[in-house]
C-alpha cells in the first residue's frame, strides 16, 4: 500500500496541529461521556439496539415498496417528488426549481446529502445566494472549509480560531466565548431567515405509511427553513425511509443519545406529507450510489446508517486526525466503509487504512453495522484482491503466533529467543521487526521478565493460592 504525498501531508498536518488535537479530544470525550449516561436510561440498551437494527434492516430491504408508498402519500398531499440517480441530476432538479421560482436567496439547514451532492456550490453557480444556517456549518462556510464531523461541523476549530475568523469575515468584536459567538451569529442570521425565498433541508427519516418527514435539530434553523420561505426543498437519501411511526420511534430513541448524548433534541419535526399553506414543497429522492451499495451483498448493511456520528465519536484514529483527513463528505469509519462504493476510489484506497480495526465503531453503532468487517472487505476490494487472499503474510504470521501460544514449550522458547535477541543483538531484532512491518512509528512489546504461566504456577504453590 502506498500513500500519495498529499495524503501523507494531510495526516502529518493533522497530527502536528495541537489546536486540532485539543479540540477533538475535548469534544469527543464530552460526547462519549454524555452518550453513555443517556443510554443508561434505557431499560436494556442492547435490546433497543437490536430492535432498531432490525427495523432498519427491514426498512432497507423494503425500499422498493416503501419508496413508492412514500411517493404516493407525498404526491397525493400536493408535494412534488423528484427522483435523482446521481448528484448531477439532484442538483439540476434543485437549480431548476430555483430558476422556476426566480429564487435569489436560499437558506440551507444542515444536510449531509446536500453536502454529498455539493448542492451549495451548484446553486451558487446558478446565481443563488446561499447561506448555511446551522451555526457550525456557517462557521465552516465562512472559513471556506468543509464540515469535519457529520453532527458537529466545526468540531475541529477552537473558540479562539472561530473568534478570529468572525472578526475578519464579519467584523465581530473578537471574543473566544462560545456563548457570545453563538448569539452573535444567531442575531446576524435572523434577517437572512426572514428574507429567504427558498429553504433547503435534509431529512433524518421519512415514514412511508403516513408520508411524514422527520427532522431532528437543536438550533431551530431547520424549523425556520421549512416554515418561512415560500419554497421548501427537502433532500432525502433514499435509504432514510422507514415504514411506520413506531419504527421511527425506535431509531429516534437512539439517534440523539448516540449523536449528542441528549435524551431528545430540542426540536423533532414531523412534517405532514403536504406543503404548508401558501408554500410549495419538493422532495428530492437522491440515489447517488445507494442502489449500487444495495446490490453489493453484505455492504447493503451500510444503508442502515442513521448518520448519528457515533462511530467517529469512538474512533481512535478519527480522534487523532479529525474529519478533513479523510478527504470526503463522510469521515470516520462509516465514511471509510462507504467511500470505496460511493466516494472517490483514489481516496478510498488510502482512507481504508485510517482504521486500527479495533472494532469500537461496530460496538458503538446503534444499528449494529459491522463496520470493522466491512472496512476489511473494503480494503480487499480497493486493492483488487479477493477477500481471504489480502493478508496472506499477516495470516501466516498470526498462525505462527497461535501455534507458539498453544504449547507451553514453544511459547517459552519463543519468549526466550526474543529476550535473548533483544539483549545480545538489539539491532538484529529491530531489523527483523522492521522487515515484518514494524517501523519507527511503532515498537514491539518488550518481553515480560517472568512469564505469566510461570507466575501463575508460583502463585498456585503459595499458601492460600487457588488450585
Amino acid at each position: 500500500m502506498s500513500f500519495t504525498p498529499e495524503f501523507l501531508e494531510r495526516m502529518n498536518k493533522a497530527l502536528e496541529d495541537r489546536v486540532l488535537q485539543a479540540a477533538l479530544n475535548k469534544a469527543l470525550t464530552t460526547v462519549r461521556r454524555k452518550s453513555a449516561a443517556s443510554l443508561m436510561e434505557l431499560t436494556e440498551p442492547q435490546d433497543v439496539r437490536d430492535v432498531a437494527a432490525e427495523v432498519k434492516r427491514i426498512a432497507v430491504n423494503s425500499l422498493h415498496r416503501n419508496l413508492q408508498e412514500l411517493e404516493s402519500r407525498l404526491e397525493h398531499a400536493g408535494t412534488e417528488v423528484l427522483w435523482a440517480r446521481n448528484a448531477e441530476e439532484a442538483t439540476q432538479h434543485v437549480t431548476d426549481i430555483a430558476r422556476e421560482h426566480n429564487i435569489q436567496r436560499a437558506i440551507f439547514s444542515k444536510s449531509m446529502v446536500a453536502e454529498e451532492i455539493e448542492l451549495e456550490h451548484a446553486l451558487q453557480h446558478a446565481g443563488v445566494r446561499v447561506i448555511q444556517t446551522d451555526l457550525g456549518e456557517r462557521v465552516v462556510q465562512l472559513a471556506g472549509q468543509k464540515p469535519s464531523h457529520i453532527t458537529a461541523p466545526c468540531l475541529h476549530m477552537s473558540a479562539k480560531e472561530i473568534g478570529k475568523l468572525l472578526k475578519v469575515k464579519t467584523g465581530m468584536e473578537y471574543t473566544d466565548d462560545p456563548e457570545r459567538i453563538s448569539r452573535y451569529l444567531a442575531e446576524q442570521m435572523r434577517p437572512t431567515f426572514l428574507a429567504a425565498q427558498m429553504g433547503i433541508s435534509g431529512v433524518n427519516m421519512a415514514v412511508s405509511r403516513t408520508g411524514t418527514l422527520v427532522m431532528v435539530e437543536n438550533e431551530g434553523n431547520v424549523r425556520l427553513g421549512y416554515t418561512l420561505p415560500e419554497v421548501h426543498v427537502a433532500v432525502l437519501g433514499i435509504e432514510k425511509v422507514v415504514e411506520t411511526m413506531r419504527d421511527a420511534d425506535f431509531v429516534l430513541s437512539l439517534l440523539a443519545r448516540k449523536a449528542t448524548g441528549q435524551r431528545s433534541t430540542s426540536y423533532l419535526s414531523l412534517l405532514g406529507p403536504g406543503p404548508l399553506p401558501g408554500q410549495k414543497r419538493y422532495v428530492v429522492f437522491v440515489d447517488n450510489g445507494r442502489s449500487f451499495v444495495f446490490s453489493k451483498g453484505p455492504y447493503r448493511e451500510l444503508l442502515s446508517c442513521i448518520r448519528c456520528g457515533s462511530c467517529m465519536n469512538v474512533c481512535p484514529v478519527y480522534e487523532k486526525v479529525g474529519g478533513h483527513a479523510y478527504g470526503w463528505t463522510y469521515p470516520g469509519p462509516i465514511g471509510i466503509a462507504l467511500m470505496h462504493l460511493m466516494g472517490p476510489p483514489e481516496m478510498a484506497s488510502q482512507a481504508n487504512y485510517l482504521c486500527s480495526l479495533c472494532g469500537a465503531c461496530t460496538e458503538a453503532c446503534p444499528v449494529e453495522i459491522p463496520l470493522d468487517k466491512l472496512i476489511v472487505m473494503g480494503r480487499a476490494r480497493t486493492n483488487r484482491l479477493k477477500p481471504g487472499k489480502e493478508y496472506r503474510r499477516e495470516r501466516r504470521a498470526f498462525r505462527l503466533v497461535t501455534q507458539s501460544m498453544l504449547k507451553g514449550g514453544r511459547y517459552r522458547f519463543t519468549h526466550w529467543g526474543h529476550k535473548v535477541g533483544r539483549a545480545v543483538a538489539p539491532g538484529v531484532v529491530r531489523g527483523v521487526e522492521r522487515k515484518l512491518g514494524w517501523h519507527d512509528q511503532r515498537t514491539a512489546p518488550v518481553p515480560a521478565k517472568v512469564l505469566f504461566r510461570t507466575r501463575f504456577k508460583r502463585r498456585k504453590k503459595e499458601p492460600g493460592g487457588s488450585s
Binding site: 475535548k26 436510561e41 434505557l42 431499560t43 435490546d47 433497543v48 427491514i58 423494503s62 425500499l63 415498496r65 419508496l67 398531499a77 417528488v81 423528484l82 427522483w83 440517480r85 441530476e89 439540476q92 430558476r99 422556476e100 451555526l135 458537529a152 476549530m157 477552537s158 473558540a159 462560545p178 453563538s182 444567531a186 426572514l194 403516513t210 411524514t212 437543536n218 438550533e219 431551530g220 434553523n221 424549523r223 425556520l224 416554515t227 418561512l228 415504514e243 411511526m245 413506531r246 419504527d247 420511534d249 425506535f250 429516534l252 449528542t260 435524551r263 430540542s266 426540536y267 423533532l268 419535526s269 414531523l270 405532514g272 406529507p273 399553506p277 401558501g278 440515489d287 442502489s291 444495495f294
Partner: protein, 239 residues
C-alpha cells in the same frame, strides 16, 4: 402540452421527464426477494425506558414529567383553573414587559376567547391572534402563547401540532413561548403518544424539548439560538 414560450413550464417538463427516467432505474435496482415479516419488531409493546411510568394517571406521572421539563430548561406552572392560568400568564408577561403578544387560539381546550381574556388583563400590551399575522411578522412579537397537544413525560417534550404555517411561526419566532394544556394530556412516552393516535399525520407536528440550543463551539452548551430562548408550559389540573 407545454407552452414553449413559458420557461417555467419548460423547466417543469424537463425536470419531470428526468425524474421519471431516474425513478424507473432506481426502483429496478432496489428489487429484492426479501419477504417482509408479518410481525415487525417495533410492533412489540417493548418497554424502552428504565423509569417508564405505568399509566397515564397524572399523579403517577407528575414527578417524572416535571423533572424532565426542568432538565430541558422548560419552565412550568401547575395550576388548578383556567382563570389561574390566565392570571399567572398575565403577571409573567407584565413582568417581562412584553409589548406585543401573539396568541394561537385554535385549541379546543383552554379558556374561551383566549385573545380577549388576555387582552383584558394586559391593557398596555397588544395581544393579537396568530391567524392574523404573516409568518415572518411573528418575529416582531415579544412572546407567544400556543396550545400544546400533549406533553411527553419521558423526554419532557411539548407536542405542538397544527396545519397552519402562521401558527407554526408563532411557536418559533418570538423569543419567549408559553404553552398550555391540561394534565390529562400528559403521556408516558413517544410510543404511547403515537399508539394513542396522538399523531395526526396530515398535521405538521413539532416536539419541543427546550429552548433552541447549540454546542457547536467546543461542545459548550449555549441556550437560545435561532428558535425561542425561553420556553414555559402551563399544566392545568383535572380538566
Amino acid at each position: 402540452m407545454t407552452n414553449r414560450t413559458d420557461p417555467a413550464a419548460a423547466l417543469q417538463e424537463g425536470r419531470r421527464k428526468r425524474s421519471k427516467g431516474a425513478r424507473e432505474e432506481i426502483l429496478e435496482g432496489l428489487e429484492t426477494d426479501f419477504q417482509p415479516v408479518s410481525k415487525r419488531p417495533s410492533d412489540e409493546s417493548m418497554v424502552v425506558y428504565r423509569d417508564r411510568p405505568a399509566g397515564f394517571n397524572w399523579e403517577g406521572i407528575k414527578e417524572l414529567t416535571l423533572a424532565r421539563l426542568e432538565e430541558n430548561h422548560i419552565g412550568y406552572d401547575v395550576v388548578i383553573q383556567w382563570s389561574a392560568f390566565l392570571d399567572t400568564l398575565a403577571n409573567r408577561l407584565y413582568s417581562q414587559e412584553a409589548k406585543r403578544v401573539l396568541v394561537d387560539d385554535s385549541a379546543h381546550w383552554g379558556p374561551n376567547n383566549l385573545v380577549q381574556s388576555l387582552d383584558s388583563r394586559l391593557p398596555r400590551t397588544e395581544v393579537v391572534s396568530a391567524d392574523e399575522v404573516d409568518p415572518r411578522e411573528a418575529a416582531q412579537f415579544d412572546a407567544a402563547l400556543v396550545p400544546v397537544q400533549a406533553v411527553i413525560a419521558q423526554t419532557g417534550s411539548l407536542v405542538i401540532a397544527t396545519a397552519s404555517r402562521r401558527r407554526l411561526a408563532a411557536s418559533l419566532l418570538p423569543r419567549t413561548v408559553y404553552g398550555f394544556c391540561t394534565t390529562r394530556q400528559v403521556v408516558p412516552d413517544f410510543g404511547a403518544w403515537v399508539d394513542a393516535e396522538g399523531h395526526q399525520s396530515e398535521l405538521h407536528t413539532v416536539l419541543v424539548s427546550g429552548p433552541s440550543r447549540t454546542a457547536d463551539i467546543e461542545k459548550q452548551l449555549v441556550m437560545g439560538v435561532h428558535g425561542p430562548w425561553n420556553v414555559s408550559v402551563f399544566l392545568v389540573q383535572g380538566r
